[in-house]
Amino acid sequence: MNRLAVQLNRLQLANPILVASGTFGYAREAQAYIDFATLGGIIPKTITPQPRIGNPPPRTIETSSGLLNSIGLDNDGLEQFIEKHLDYLLSLNTSIIANIAGRNVDDFKQMAARLNEFDGLAALELNISCPNVSGGVDFGTNPKLAAEVVGSVRDACSLPVIAKLTPNVTSVVEIAAAAAEAGADAVSLVNTFQGMAVDWRRRKPILGGVLGGLSGPAIKPLALRIVWQVAQAVDIPIIGVGGIACIDDVMQFIVAGATAVQIGTANFYNPGIANQLVGELSEIVEEQGCTHISELTGSLQT
């Protein structure tokens, strides 16, 4: 038996190590550094119904142990994704989870139905949490709207559905509970924390998008806290994401209640990290005397 295989309701993954949306391009860019087949899965950059040009540069700025970004969902739209990237992604011998974002429920529904036409996708991740997109409904901050999106995507396709939630709310637990109630197979916790960088001498914001999302090691304690809070309160598999950069970080999320994790910003500064973590995770499970990773999931005692 594969001691690292994990099940998140209808979604099965060969191991818990995924790479996060927007931090792995369309995978092909990382082929020099990563053996894709060893990953638990790949989540390509968010797809929107129509092309989006994205925000003007500068789009990222490093902060203390973190990264602020205002990429603005720069992508060529769903049809170009299908034409240019889908075949390639589906050929990589790992689970491909398409991440989608729309401006209204109908957008999400139509994208889900269109992607449902292709065999081989493992799941859909709904980006209802991107702080960089203006003009859209803020699904991620309102439990009712979050439930509506999740429910309509479930109805529109047969794929497992993951809701990716924003931490920029008073209670992520409330949103996660609504997503679970509406039939989400899992929740990804969390997207970036809204932040800002200022060049005071020029009296200007540094990012072209003015506000940005903070990621990287700086946010790990915050993300970990949210994973733990949701694990305590809601009965739904959790995919932990935020600042994970080494195997100890992975284990912290797993014992706090995450069934799987996503590696984000760390891919930028350690291109081979996702492969490395899969190997190390296998060793840790053995070292801990476990026959299966699930024995460690949520094992935190308070």
Binding site: D74, D76, H85, Y88
Partner: protein, 295 residues
């Protein structure tokens, strides 16, 4: 919006790039605030060619967090084998200030080679235009163009060495001029300018380019690297004279290999430039034909 941003063919994506734990072999000062680091890293040295870059990161810390891009200055050899790379840098911020303190043996994390690099020159007269630290890619370009050295694996084959090679190099003042000894080579006509007139022509480096473009033996191609205003001026001069020009951009980068979409520049989708799209300079550049860019 036209052409897709993320076309499957990325001219600057290097399938054979590697992530490598390197170490510092030597560090020398090149000019004021300007240093040259020599890193031992055979797997990158063997394949890198002029105009390509690599990411440098200090391992074991989260601050600075990200790697930083640097261009190849030259490849050095040991026992006739390509053993490592030299690169020049100016201290401007977090990592470069730390780098100035690095001693031989210092561990360094690298990934590369990255980017498309300069095309192999196939002209009789090539001009190189450098502003400030933008000179660093041009030592290897010059050595390759003059047929003195080969780069890449398999080695890039120059159709024929350039008969004439002009380099216009501008800096703020004489104390910032770096690597002048390295650029003393047969066949290279080095023209200097400084903003304060402390050495060479008193004025902009693009004035030296303009002079060269006006001369009887004008260059048939121009390679340019430096601050944006200078590149813009070079772009315009070359467009007026209809001389093909390539610009190497120094857009800030977070990953260097195409996964973050932070390093974008505006690329024209038609001649007028009314239609344009953001493109990633790390995997579609950093070297672009000047007439494709909206700077």
């Amino acid at each position: 919006m036209g052409e897709p941003v993320c076309s499957p063919t990325l001219p600057g994506a290097v399938a054979s790039a590697v992530q490598h734990q390197a170490h510092v072999v030597a560090q020398t000062q090149m000019a004021r605030d300007t240093y040259c680091l020599r890193l031992h890293c055979p797997p990158i040295a063997e394949q890198i060619h002029p105009g390509q870059f690599f990411m440098v990161r200090l391992p074991g810390t989260d601050n600075p967090l990200l790697g930083r891009p640097f261009a190849l200055y030259d490849v050095y050899e040991e026992d006739g084998q390509k053993a490592g790379i030299d690169f020049g840098y100016v201290t401007v911020g977090k990592l470069t200030s730390a780098m100035a303190e690095w001693k031989p043996g210092q561990a360094v994390e690298l990934w590369g080679p990255l980017g498309n690099g300069f095309p192999l020159p196939d002209v009789e007269h090539l001009a190189l235009v450098a502003g400030g630290i933008g000179q660093t890619p041009f030592l290897a370009v010059a050595r390759e163009a003059l047929g003195q050295k080969q780069y890449g694996n398999p080695p890039r084959q120059l159709p024929k060495p350039a008969k004439q090679l002009t380099m216009c190099y501008g800096a703020r003042s004489a104390e910032y001029l770096a690597g002048l000894d390295d650029f003393q080579m047969d066949g290279l006509d080095l023209k200097i300018s400084t903003d304060d007139g402390s050495q060479g022509h008193h004025g902009f480096v693009t004035e030296l380019l303009a002079e060269s473009l006006e001369s009887n033996s004008a260059p048939e191609a121009v390679y340019c690297c430096g601050p944006e205003p200078m590149m813009k001026a070079a772009q315009q001069l070359c467009a007026e004279k209809r001389v093909p020009c390539w610009l190497s951009l120094e857009t800030p980068m977070a990953c260097g290999f195409g996964i973050c979409f932070s390093c974008v520049t505006r690329v024209k989708l038609d001649e007028s430039g009314d239609n344009w799209d953001y493109r990633r300079t790390c995997v579609e550049g950093p070297v672009f034909p000047a007439d494709q860019l909206l700077l």
